[in-house]
Symmetry: C2
Subunit: 280 residues, 2 copies
């Protein structure tokens, strides 16, 4: 299912991820408008004025790097949106920030929190998984647009539930990345080619998606940053805050967060997570 020709999609945030979503939607033949005061890249049509974008578009996608950016855009959007709009927040924020977007429902605007599993490559390929929280009306209205870049949309529950699942996801991703990086280093010390590790262990009890991803990126060598250590550390911190808000003590996460934090002061911080396999 694809967005029909009359649906105009507005993408707010044209960084690596938002830009690729806008490109993919434009490639499907729909009308796509992009907005980003800080630049970003897309082949879709740019609109500098947010009010003009909201005037033209009925489905609004937020693809922003921080909770502060989401809050800022939400405040700008509040007087502009109404019952004809569906707002889809693809940004990873705290659960309370995802739920707070529900205040826009007072204007009649339908709202989804809808973070992704998958990076820019999956966006280009249209194989993202979307963890969606929000009412069935909002999900139905956004569905054809999501289908343009996601191969799977998981209905997780009410607003905030998509973000809850995304945080569980990031807890595992962070653990698997750090474990894979450490295993690759140990393999190297034991005299194995680090890139052999993924193939030796493929399909066994030791396998994980991130093991395969990390080793594949190591084998490719330096390339585009498809997920930075800084972003993974930010997400691990969100998980820690979430657990604390629930009164749940986690034992593994502090070690993971500390290991990621140890790379923040180095050149690795904004490099791909695959660089964690090498000493900072």
């Amino acid at each position: 299912m694809r967005p029909d020709a009359e649906t105009v999609v507005g993408v707010v945030g044209l960084g690596a991820m938002g830009g690729r979503l806008a490109d993919r939607l434009a490639g499907e033949g729909g009308r796509v408008l992009g907005h980003d005061p800080f630049g970003g890249t897309t082949e879709a049509e740019r609109v500098d004025d947010l009010a003009a974008l909201v005037e033209a578009a009925s489905v609004l996608l937020l693809v922003l790097p921080t909770a502060a950016a989401v809050r800022g855009v939400a405040a700008e959007l509040a007087p502009l949106v109404g019952p004809d709009h569906v707002l889809v927040n693809h940004s990873t924020v705290a659960v309370r920030d995802a739920v707070a977007l529900g205040s826009l429902a007072g204007t009649g605007c339908r709202v989804l929190d809808a973070p992704f599993s998958g990076g820019t490559e999956s966006a280009v390929a249209g194989t993202l998984t979307v963890f969606a929280g929000g009412g069935p009306d909002a999900l139905r209205a956004a569905g054809p647009v999501l289908a343009a870049y996601a191969s799977r949309v998981v209905a997780c529950g009410p607003l905030g539930a998509g973000t809850t699942v995304k945080l569980l996801h990031q807890h595992l991703v962070a653990a698997h990345v750090v474990a894979a990086a450490e295993t690759v280093r140990l393999a190297g010390a034991a005299g194995l080619a680090e890139t052999d590790v993924a193939e030796l262990l493929a399909g066994t009890a030791a396998d994980s998606t991130m093991l395969q991803v990390l080793v594949a990126r190591l084998a490719e060598g330096p390339g585009p940053v498809r997920g930075s250590t800084r972003i993974l550390h930010k997400d691990a911190t969100l998980v820690a805050e979430f657990a604390e808000s629930l009164g749940t003590r986690l034992d593994l996460l502090p070690a993971i967060t500390r290991i990621l934090a140890g790379h923040l002061g180095t050149a690795d911080a904004d490099r791909d997570i695959a660089t964690l396999a090498h000493d900072a």
Copy 2:
């Protein structure tokens, strides 16, 4: 490929794993002799005297729980084995202990270190992965026997290399089990059904074999112990000693080992690793 009718296989150690290997080999129609001074269960023919087993069998499988047991059996075997024998050590021990079995090569005996990925269920189904270290002659001689219970035999390198890969494997298994257990607890605290976690995250960047295994066992409820916390802790300790012997500092492993150790004094220690998802 299966062992030919003239190959007699001797299984030393008839615990949960060794017993299932003996059963499976017997089920393939070959002659299988089992030896275990401490009991164990198998439908294969039992031989109380190790010398009598070595006299009759040409392929000897060690399936023992500890390095001490492997060393003890190796000392007993040394004067008994010769060029007609292939010794396959399936037990998980330290790399130096796996390599030490090479001293039997002085008697002409061919030796493999060949730990598994997979538990008793895989043994019954014949879908184990074997990480094999040792010379091509030994691997060729043991191959038809291994094929009776392993769907994949990975030739890892010289004697000790199979154990090296197994320790890398166990490092990841331990990390993935602890991370999965912690994620399931967090999901429960967030109001999700703990058993939903695996399906929500299946196929995403957060997925791992052990996530799926752990949640499946939680969903089944109490059943046979297919991998205990005590054994996983033992293996994690072997990984730590291996890293130390290589002069490699690991940052994540101490946290994992500490979390596993925290369950050793409890009823959980000898229960299935799935119980790590619940408070000790």
